[in-house]
Symmetry: none
Subunit: 417 residues, 2 copies
Amino acid sequence: MKAEIISVGTELLLGQIANTDAQYISQELSKLGIGVYYHTVVGDNWDRTVDAISLAASRCDIVILTGGLGPTADDLTKEALCSYLGLECVMHQRSYERLCERMKKHNITAMTQNNYKQAMFPESATVLDNDHGTAPGMYYEREDAHVFAALPGPPSELKPMFSNYVMPLLQKKSGKVLVSRVLRMYGIGESSMETRVKDILDAQTNPTVAPLLGNGDVTLRITAMADNLQEAKLLIEPTEKALTERLGEYIYGYDDDTPQSVLVELLKQKGLTVATAESCTGGLIASRITDVQGSSEVFNEGFVTYANEAKVKHLGVKEQTLIDYGAVSEQTAREMVLGLIERTNCDVAIAVTGIAGPGGGTHDKPVGLVWVGVAVKTSDGIKLSVTKNNFVGNREKIKFSTSTTAIINAIKMIKNL
Amino acid sequence: MKAEIISVGTELLLGQIANTDAQYISQELSKLGIGVYYHTVVGDNWDRTVDAISLAASRCDIVILTGGLGPTADDLTKEALCSYLGLECVMHQRSYERLCERMKKHNITAMTQNNYKQAMFPESATVLDNDHGTAPGMYYEREDAHVFAALPGPPSELKPMFSNYVMPLLQKKSGKVLVSRVLRMYGIGESSMETRVKDILDAQTNPTVAPLLGNGDVTLRITAMADNLQEAKLLIEPTEKALTERLGEYIYGYDDDTPQSVLVELLKQKGLTVATAESCTGGLIASRITDVQGSSEVFNEGFVTYANEAKVKHLGVKEQTLIDYGAVSEQTAREMVLGLIERTNCDVAIAVTGIAGPGGGTHDKPVGLVWVGVAVKTSDGIKLSVTKNNFVGNREKIKFSTSTTAIINAIKMIKNL
């Protein structure tokens, strides 16, 4: 099966956003063994949208549209698709009710005509609930087995709708299951990781093994195509074992794991709590930990000690240490993390201090220099690790790399208890 | 002039990378008043690439190709373009010499036939030097004034080549400038914003006014096309004034502003500092504030008081308040923010407490219920605001909405001092 993804939105053609929707859908379709042959972007324009649909249908079996499902007059994707398909839209009761409920929750009393059009669909289409926004999507299979789908543009709405509702429908259509297992690594570069397992990567056909590009993570995705889940898992197993033999020390998690989800899970298992003291990350470590559902079981408190006085006051860092070595130093990181574990009830303490830039760097202490401290209470006293890191990139990237390293270091120390 | 961007690369269709090249070129072309009408992505396939060029040339005046200029057999973009144009490639002396030099620098002694093909160009084309990689690009204007360009795919090579060599050629061709002004709003929904200014939106042709979709922001972008910058600004001014009259109360910033950048700037101007006490946001407010370069001037410390004990210990929230009203209550938010401003040196205090979910909600206190407190020291004592909010979405979205509301509330209070 061949697929084309048509993204509708003038904001794409103005370069205001990158077409990450097409990227995401392409990744997902490849899991089903569906080849994506074209991405097309058109503006919020009726004729060009209809023409794009018509061209796509002439050369592909699956046509997926993204964007242009909102309430404004500019949003015309669904209407253009239905016009091309010759289908009339009527009010879809469930969508109407969900829309009313949502408006009520947001205290919006006056629904406009434009709001209502979001709940209008052809009777023969499958309406895809939008669990994260107002505009539902649609999925339609034509008599010639061609599939057409229209999905909302915002990634936070598109992704769950695609994976929860569109993927199962397409999977049923393809008759095969594609099962993936993602190995997530940290602390190794992508090229050296690939060099270590190149022979495995090259030799595989089913399952295939390929890196999956993402948010700073180094990953390998093992993907097996089979008639059923059981068979797919049997295909994946030996490959995963072979990869783990070579890369196990760098693997911190699997599939949808994040460093923070692995840390929270580990703390829960061991009945431990964690606290944070952050300088250059400014609260990002605590924010990432508390992104994890149920993190309140293991996280009670954190400090953002941006100024020197805050480090002294809340963590007991000695003023003389700050004078002698500076805030960005091994000594300060050590006193921060030890002060944190002594002054709070936590079992695991994480502290970071560094230079996020773009200003503030010197020859001896360049932008990107970060000290990461982790301390763990054990029956033999406090176990401590303070590491020096040199991160590259802009301010946000340095903050993010620091937070990842701190969380991974904590995971390693807890695992090695 | 209408433009189409064709990106050639199977890695795009597999979703391994997003099409940021098309985004970048679109942004740049819009500055010249050149409208981008289509983005197209095809794989590394001769027939589909030639077909895409042919279709683009039939509907646009400017056709820009990215990717597929490398040395491997897969790289066929330039050859497909020249084949379509009926132009023969010959060795381009400067490119050949630059290529040899580069290979020498990288200690590559054996040049293959494939390396040489990168230096082959039609005699009638303008060869664009690649100052950051091996493959030069090409620019060609056909007798009918249609422009065709082929550029390398890696952004680090594409961007300087485009801005240094292609932009000057296109600017000469277009003779116009396009200038934009973005108004950023918060506290109003997109549809009710549009309803308020629909007549202005509909009536405009130059400048045009349209919403710009973004990360939870409601925006309007005013875009003027003119002969020069000065004239464009004069066109924008009255429209901006008219929009501000109707929407001014919701506008928090302009162009690349974020809530946090506006807050930090405002604090700097007034010589004030801010501190944070976060429950449900878990450090996100502090992290967003410290994303702003130079925020250390205005931010000294923050607390993540996730557990009740932390609220009592660090902020002086009364235990009885927590028993009587619960952690998610107006009373607790009030004591958090007042405790924060009393116990730290800050001039502005921000505190939030709420239920980020997905668990923990009850009938009276549903997921998404968040109390946001802001306190400001003034000559007349402490000015206080505590607001109740009901946010929707998943955990991360509720955290994000909470942090934005807290920052915007702080901006408003400081502005109204």
